[in-house]
Subunit: 325 residues, 2 copies
């Protein structure tokens, strides 16, 4: 009998361990609703069945798939590179924002708002080929460490969201990033970090140009913005890039409001989820008053629209993908 | 013996019929090189082997996948719709080009060049939602007939190119359209006509806008151009949308030169093909002096760059996908 019991326990334990696709999610309503949604749209006998081609899932990046505090990680990269560039040629610092950025004054940078951030990113990112830029980002990510957590940035992706991405793909979904972050910046790590290939990364874009340089055809990054993939820009980008209405949308801020609104207003089974940053122990706690990842309208209207507010402190038993948890 | 011979003949005949993926291509050099390329990149033992994820094939549309004479079919749609709109409100005809277009004066329209065409397209295509627009294009394609061939436009896709697209996909390629034609115009028929889903259609784009109209989230087509996907714009769009260098590129005009140049200059196995319109019996014969599909630089430099010039009259035993051949 004792041997029999042991076998039963082993089978049950192993069975549970193998069959839970979201082990970093606590067994509560958020997890249950997500799993039920995926089950429904993949069950050919369900009235909510959706063909694989239409199983489009889109996710914001900053604050949804990885952290975004104290500021967007791309901005920290930009500040590093701007500083280097300004040391070689101080004349590139043509505004107070750029001067503050090169001096590492994060507070003043934050005050400059979205326009200031874009200015910094554009000045620091231009003048390279796309290949050179992506290589430089990848190198930076290998050595740079978060200013307070001291972690590698790619260890600051959220383990529960990695599990969710994988679970969706295992069930025939195509997973896209739709982020205000830079397209080429995100491509430098998205495939390794998230399993999301370059053609499924949608982001803000700087101007680029095709030119044959010394006999070599090249895509060059120019100064200037081509497209800002935020707020009402997100539905526009999804239409332009994918041409299908997503059935699963993940975000964390009011910059994601329109894409959740657009996708979940349509007929058929659709799910919107918002990561609510409630965990000032393991991560950060912020919403309405944050200068990055501000979440106000989503908090107020989300539940009424059927969106899931993911309570990070309560719903996740593990936060970081990296070892330091 | 006679029975045995018959069986051998049957087996050989059936074998050939089933095993030729490009039956509308005559057995000559163009066909042999295309088949050899696909064999090489898909054979794991070949030194030219390419992983499925990197098997990206891109094709121009007008003049490459379907015909483009006497003018781009999208322009014929635009003229139809402009005429309708102008009957309801003549004040929209704010330029000589638009007046000529509404009067059906194709010659004057052609003289207005690329800028004129874009003006006509933008005025005639704006003011609808993307959904309404794509539905309208699909309806037009069902009833409209080509001015001289009297064929449905979707019957004027090239059967040999449909076979090539299918052969590539059967061998793990992802096939994209990369065309100067309008993104939403092409999406209205690309999946049915070519088996190319919306997320693999890349084209020129007009401005669009997200707005909640009477409570319904909507993507609206505005006047104005967002991006022209032609010439040096094609590599830029491929980088932005796909983020991988294609290994197979098909085009037919100098508008495709840069994307062939970019893709085939890089290391590794890569193939560029140009459809050369040499068939004034079944289709049309034109190259250097044509106002649509002008092919000059490609003719001169293509062979030296290893590109295949597909001689439509000689290489194809069938042209149209539609019944009338």
């Amino acid at each position: 009998m004792r041997l029999f019991s042991l076998i039963v326990v082993l089978v049950l334990t192993t069975g549970t361990a193998f069959s839970d696709p979201l082990p970093s999610w606590n067994a509560d309503e958020a997890k249950a609703r997500i799993l039920a949604f995926v089950d429904a749209v993949t069950d050919p006998k369900s009235e909510d069945y959706v063909t694989p081609a239409e199983r489009i899932a889109v996710f914001d990046n900053d604050g949804t798939l990885w952290a975004e505090k104290p500021v967007y990680f791309q901005l920290l990269y930009a500040l590093d590179r701007l500083k280097q560039k300004a040391e070689a040629d101080p004349s590139i610092l043509t505004s107070d924002t750029l001067k503050a950025a090169a001096a590492g004054d994060l507070e003043k940078v934050a005050e400059s708002g979205e326009d200031g951030l874009l200015e910094i990113v554009m000045v620091s990112h231009s003048g390279l080929t796309v290949d050179e830029f992506q290589k430089d980002v990848a190198e930076w990510l290998e050595t740079a460490r978060h200013p307070t957590k001291q972690m590698a940035y790619t260890d600051m992706t959220y383990q529960p969201m990695l599990e969710l991405l994988r679970h969706l793909r295992d069930n025939g979904f195509t997973t896209y990033i739709v982020s205000g972050g830079g397209l080429h910046f995100m491509r430098a790590f998205a495939e390794e970090a998230y399993g999301i290939p370059p053609e499924q990364v949608i982001g803000s874009t700087g101007k680029t140009r095709y030119e044959v340089v010394d006999g070599v055809p090249t895509i060059l990054k120019d100064p200037g913005i081509a497209f800002v993939d935020d707020k009402a820009g997100k539905p526009v980008a999804i239409d332009s890039r994918i041409g299908r209405l997503p059935i699963f949308v993940g975000g964390n801020s009011d910059g994601d409001f329109q894409m959740l609104e657009w996708a979940t207003s349509a007929e058929g089974p659709r799910l919107g989820v918002l990561v609510h940053h409630t965990d000032d122990q393991r991560e950060w706690a912020y919403d309405r008053d944050s200068h990055v990842g501000k979440l106000e309208r989503g908090l107020e209207e989300g539940p009424g629209r059927g969106w899931i507010l993911i309570d990070m402190a309560k719903d996740w038993n593990r936060v970081w993908s990296g070892a330091a948890n």
